[in-house]
């Protein structure tokens, strides 16, 4: 038994006792269950397992600290209404906002941040990390780190564009259908049903096999596949607004469709629509990543996270984590957006009751 193991258990048990003494039941339960799990893990996995636990706990702590700091930062720089809203944000949500913020910076200032160009060959294939290349080289000897940074711009940019297109189409159609009703509503609804009854990835593959792979085609295909989903939600949200008496009053006043959408429906649907944008972005982002991973998305030499996983996949069998890094980059952003969306949905549902 060395000092690390001793210190590990002392700290855990000491902290749980403190929590118990101050009657912090959830914290105590959490700490003590970690202690129990550690006993088992320590026996099976030895010191290494405990070390892993420590690292994980430390990174969660670090993430929590950063999120807390970032939330305070946001509260300090924002206006009164936003402040009140931000104070209710759980740490997961501010963690999400922090990650989104970081990715945005990375994407916008990619050429400044990345030490090398995205297609620049500077070393041998699969060179290990050194002082030049933070994360080593890929299968062609390009700097992994630079490509990840550029990937933020390419992958996220494409997903944003596609989501935006799907959103504009779906939301407009949804609100029009809600206001117009009748055959237009029926037609749009049935069309959406049909498109949605083909699984999205399969539909994308079918269309890609026909139109080939280029950026415009990708954006259009994704927009066509996801617009019906946005349509459905917008139709439902707008449907709830349309039955309100103020819409009837406006209709009876003789207002036109455009006025109804702009002045009456849109202001009352923004909250769920923003949350939906986040959700759709996640779906689109994962779909595009999947297509890239299959070699049917953004084409080389453009840096793209999904393709990077595919290109470096062989490294996995040598126990290297390199291909996991771009995959983790995808997961991290999706998690971040989902955290924020989850909070927004919780807020909007909590306010109703």
């Amino acid at each position: 038994m060395d000092y690390f193991v001793l210190g590990y258990y002392t700290l855990l048990i000491g902290a749980s006792c403190l929590a118990a003494y101050y009657q912090q039941r959830p914290i105590f339960m959490l700490l003590f269950s970690i202690t129990l799990v550690s006993f088992v893990m320590g026996i099976i996995g030895g010191k290494e397992a405990l070390w892993t636990t420590t690292v994980v706990a430390a990174s969660i702590g670090l993430a929590a600290g950063t999120s807390y700091g970032f939330r305070e930062f946001l509260i300090n720089i924002s206006g009164r209404e936003t402040q009140k809203m931000l104070r209710t944000a759980p740490l997961t949500a501010s963690f999400g906002m922090f990650i989104i913020f970081t990715y945005a910076i990375m994407g916008i200032f990619a050429p400044v941040i990345a030490p090398y160009g995205e297609a620049e060959v500077i070393g041998g294939a699969f060179d290990p990390p050194d002082e030049n290349m933070l994360l080593g080289a890929d299968q062609l000897g390009r700097d992994m780190f630079s490509r990840i940074v550029y990937g933020a711009r390419n992958t996220v940019g494409l997903a944003l564009m596609a989501t935006g297109a799907a959103f504009v189409m779906g939301a407009m159609a949804g609100m029009l259908a809600a206001v117009k009703g009748g055959w237009f509503d029926q037609l749009m609804g049935r069309t959406a049903d049909v498109i949605m009854s083909v699984p999205s990835l399969i539909f994308a593959l079918l269309l890609l096999s026909i139109f080939g792979t280029n950026l415009t085609v990708l954006v259009v295909i994704v927009a066509v596949i996801y617009a019906p989903r946005v349509f459905r939600l917008t139709r439902a949200v707008a449907g709830n607004v349309v039955v309100m008496d103020y819409i009837e009053a406006a209709k009876l006043r003789g207002e036109g469709t455009w006025y109804l959408i702009r002045k009456e429906i849109l202001p009352n649907s923004t909250a769920p629509l923003i949350a939906e944008f986040g959700l759709e972005f996640c779906f689109v982002f994962l779909l595009l990543a999947g297509l890239s991973f299959l070699g049917l998305g953004i084409q080389p030499p453009t840096a793209d996270w999904g393709s990077m996983v595919r290109e470096n996949a062989t490294l996995i069998s040598f126990g290297e984590i390199t291909p996991l890094i771009p995959a983790a980059a995808i997961a991290l952003l999706t998690v971040a957006v989902n955290f924020v969306v989850d909070w927004m949905l919780y807020r909007s549902s909590g306010l109703k009751t």
């Binding site: 009053a249 006043r253 003789g254």
Partner: protein
């Protein structure tokens, strides 16, 4: 008052908090209550008075997001606030039972009525399953449910609302509890259905000598049911007194104002002889798909006069309004406006035709766009029809706000959610006035409001009618409102006009049988009203009369 019975429920300094905006806020501020065995206490108050919360607290229960934060609730010597949840549970359904407002939602759709009825007595081992079923049928019979031996084997959605409410009362009686909490049991029902449920509840509580807390916002109802009345306002007790005393001689100002509400009455105006009607509905039939909802409806509305259209839910009164506004084109018949036929669909009407007929809605919450400022809500019709802009528009908005007795400077930039219910309804009126109409449809405009506020709205509407010579079509199910504001009355039932005429004629006998049923079913303040009425009608045919 000869002998004091044993005290069953003793609540002292009860405080309850509710969780909103991330903090706990006290909503009941120290209420006392004493209930003796076999007594019925009426809890009365407007929405937000804390009636239901107190009722549930009497069972040691707080809804999610509420908690009992102080005081004591003593039931038959047992202190409920400190009793363990398990022991509290053993009281509920057994010694204290609950009857909810909406029976349709409170019965589980997946089980037969009788299975839900027998659940508690079987669980508490008070009766065996078969005995409990037998007992249920007997209770159904006592509550005068039709086919008492068979009705329990139906599912909730197969039974009508009034019957469900009685079945729920039977269920509450299953274990012969010492105390029943009735939480607005007749609020969701029509007046004619309400009578039978009230009568059934009163009888059964009497027969088993059960103590009850009867929660309602309707004074006349509580007058029939309760021995003592407690008046609540915003989580505080206003006063408590035996029913007769409370009705005759209320002490507090607030209570007096509640009692005085129905006093507003304006003189009836005669129908002008030479003039053409503003709106004339002629032989209108209408249908939703294959279902016919209006059958040969005709009536006229003259300028400066109020026509009240009365009926229970499903009578077609709101549909008539939809036909007049053009939202639902009639299948046959026509609507004339100042002698000119209106296009059946609102889309084909001219801007001027749309302007002349305006509407005020029941729910001010849904009638005003919550994301638009008051000045825009009121200003839009003036801008849209009158083409007003800039300073002219602003002064018109100020003028309208003055007209509805709201201070322009204060409300100009507010949003609807920042206003009270009555203020919102006033904004709704201002929006209608902004179009400078000649005819306004008022759809149940006061039924969502507390009584005092409703009174204010009625007075305002009356004043505006005199000043602007408006014609009103007043849709309502509340005969008190009809008495106070109408000149002429149209009674509707199942899409047909049953009877129509000037108010004084309509309110003096002889009546059409349905009008008579409707009129006599409206609860009156007199504590003996229900008893007298039941005697007059003969107990046995109440259900029959109402089912027709």
């Amino acid at each position: 008052m000869t002998e004091k019975k044993e005290i069953l429920l003793k609540i002292r300094d009860l405080r309850i908090e509710g969780y909103s905006d991330e903090k706990w806020i006290e909503i009941v501020h120290g209420v006392d209550l004493t209930l003796r065995r076999g007594e019925v206490m009426g809890l009365i108050g407007e929405s937000g008075a804390g009636k239901s919360t107190i009722g549930l607290a009497a069972m040691g229960f707080a809804r999610d997001g509420c908690r009992i934060s102080g005081g004591s609730v003593e039931f038959d010597g047992l202190e409920l606030t400190t009793t363990a949840e398990e022991d509290l549970r053993a009281l509920r359904g057994n010694r204290i039972a609950y009857v909810a407002q909406s029976a349709a939602a409170s019965f589980n759709p997946a089980h037969k009525l009788i299975d839900q009825h027998t659940e508690a007595p079987v669980y508490y081992r008070i009766r065996k399953r078969m005995e409990a079923q037998e007992d249920a049928m007997e209770l159904y019979e006592r509550l005068r449910l039709p086919n008492p031996r068979e009705i329990g084997f139906r599912y909730p959605h197969q039974v009508s609302g009034g019957q469900l409410q009685r079945a729920m009362t039977a269920m509450a009686m299953a274990c012969r509890p010492d105390l029943i909490i009735f939480d607005e049991p007749t609020t969701a029902l029509d007046v004619t259905t309400q009578i039978e449920v009230l009568a059934a509840i009163r009888d059964i509580v009497d027969q088993f000598n059960t103590a009850a807390i009867y929660i309602t916002h309707d004074l006349a109802v509580v007058a029939q049911m309760a021995d003592t009345i407690k008046v609540l306002l915003k989580g505080n007790e206003v006063e408590e007194a035996p029913t007769a005393e409370m009705l005759e001689n209320p002490k507090e100002e607030y209570t007096k104002s509640l009692w005085a509400v129905r006093s507003f009455k304006r003189p009836q105006k005669p129908r002008p002889t030479s003039e053409e009607p503003v709106v004339s509905v002629q032989n209108v039939d209408a249908a939703y798909g294959p279902v016919k909802v209006l059958d040969d409806v005709s009536f006229d509305v003259y300028s400066g006069m109020t026509v009240a259209v009365v009926g229970e839910s499903g009578s077609g009164k709101s549909t008539t309004a939809r036909v007049i506004t053009g939202l639902l084109p009639p299948t046959t018949g026509r609507v004339l406006f100042k002698g000119e036929e209106l296009p059946p669909n609102y889309r084909s009407r001219t801007k001027d035709q749309l302007r002349q007929a305006q509407m005020i809605y029941q729910m001010a919450d849904t009638a005003l766009n919550p994301k638009v400022q008051i000045h825009e809500i009121i200003g839009r019709p003036a801008q849209f029809y009158g083409g007003l802009k800039g300073a002219a528009l602003k002064s018109r908005i100020d003028e309208l706000l003055d007209l509805i007795e709201l201070e322009p400077a204060k409300y100009f930039h507010r949003y609807p959610p920042e206003l009270s219910g009555g203020q919102k309804q006033r904004i709704g009126i201002a929006r209608a006035l902004a179009a400078e109409p000649t005819f306004i449809i008022c759809d149940e405009v006061t039924s969502a409001l507390d009584q005092l506020v409703a009174e204010g709205i009625l007075k305002l509407l009356d004043r505006l009618q005199k000043e602007l010579n408006l014609a009103y079509m007043f849709i309502t199910h509340d005969l008190a409102t009809v008495r106070s504001i109408a000149d002429e009355v149209v009674v509707m039932k199942q899409g047909k006009v049953v009877e129509q005429g000037p108010k004084d004629v309509m309110f003096t006998p002889p009546h059409h049988p349905y009008t008579d049923l409707l009129l006599s079913s409206v609860p009156e303040m007199d504590p003996n009203w229900l008893t007298t009425l039941l005697e007059e009608r003969g107990v046995d045919n109440i259900g029959e009369a109402a089912d027709k």
